[in-house]
């Protein structure tokens, strides 16, 4: 390391070798970051996902109003939002009173990817809403290791989402590329934090308190035409 000789010129080979290696790291790293965050056309999509709805999992595609929920299964604020308004959203989906699009983001780390992939697998079983509620109810600390694929399968089982097909889907990470596409769509639509909810395309104001007050959230839904 220490090189006190050749004070006037230094060692040009070392210089260019190091500069070259650093440049390689920067170029390759940049390439990987961009590639990983670009939508992949080859991604396998769960049957409930819709490309024109930002790859989200769609309930009642033909209805109005439209509610978009951008969330991360590992995000504590999303758990709080779910605890406040989850029942109301589920009722709207089940009673066919609104179009609801769930966008599971994964920027909190690998366990968010496993959880989101599991959500798509559960959607294929027609059990997305059950899975969604159970995952939030059992949300562990961020990236604590609890949501490995086995952990996701165990939590899903508690919600009644079981079966060889579901387990294979989770273990294979069948929808991992789809999870990436949801994320890059979130970047395109400027989703900077979770949860972010849109009602008929209008972002619910974070300062309004509606995220964590069932009454205030219901007021917005009523204003959007929910009876």
């Amino acid at each position: 390391m220490v090189n006190n000789k050749g004070k006037s010129s230094g060692d040009p080979i070392t210089r260019w070798l190091v500069i070259g290696m650093v440049a390689l790291v920067v170029v390759v790293g940049t390439g990987i970051s961009i590639f990983n965050n670009t939508s992949k056309k080859t991604a396998v999509l769960p049957s409930a996902a819709s490309v024109k709805d930002g790859y989200g999992i769609v309930f009642n595609g033909d209805l109005k109003p439209v509610i978009d929920v951008w969330e991360d299964f590992q995000c504590p604020s999303c758990k709080a939002f779910e605890a406040t308004n989850g029942d109301a959203l589920r009722a709207l989906a089940v009673e066919k009173k609104a179009k609801i699009v769930f966008h599971p983001l994964s920027f909190l780390g690998p366990e968010s990817v496993y959880a989101a992939n599991g959500a798509a697998c559960a959607a294929d079983q027609g059990k997305f809403l059950e899975y969604h509620a159970m995952m939030y109810k059992n949300q562990p600390a961020e990236n604590s290791g609890a949501w490995s694929n086995e952990g996701v399968i165990a939590t899903a089982a508690a919600a009644g989402v079981t079966g060889a097909e579901f387990e294979a889907c989770v273990n294979k990470g069948k929808y991992a590329d789809w999870v990436g596409n949801v994320g890059s769509e979130g970047s395109k639509q400027n989703i900077n934090s979770t949860p972010t909810v849109f009602i008929n395309g209008k972002e619910v104001d974070r300062a309004s308190g509606a995220y964590y007050s069932a009454a205030d959230f219901m007021k917005l839904l009523v204003a959007a035409g929910i009876k």
């Binding site: 090189n3 010129s9 940049t30 994964s106 974070r206």
Partner: protein, 158 residues
Amino acid sequence: MKLPAFLTETRLNWLGLFVRLILGGVIFVAGALKVTAPYKAAAAMRAYELLPISVANILGYTLPWFEVGVGILLILGIATRLSAIFAGSLMVIFILAIASAWARGLSIDCGCFGGGGQVAPGETKYLQEILRDFGLTLLAVYLYLRPHTKWALEPASR
């Protein structure tokens, strides 16, 4: 320029080493914390509302890697003068961006070390962020003026 007698060549070389390691270390860590969370880095970049969303996203994925690169060069002491110019320019751009966010009344975290995005209006730290980046700019200026430092892989750094 005539230097005071106590600023001997040797002492300045040691000072340069510390300056290089502090500047390089801070930039390297700032970049390394962000390369693992590109989605957040892009979100932090968008939160400044200075660039079109697609450009901000690409820059959010790219910039952390450049910080890692220039951080490594400074820590090793290779191309110190060039790296100092790059690092200093980066700091000036950061200061302008933060000042602009402040002036426009945005409530964001600078996202300098990961994180970033909107924060509650009372939780902005614009002044601290600008002062820190100003300090780092001074370090970069010092290395530009005197790139000779102790324990540099390239003693006569350009």
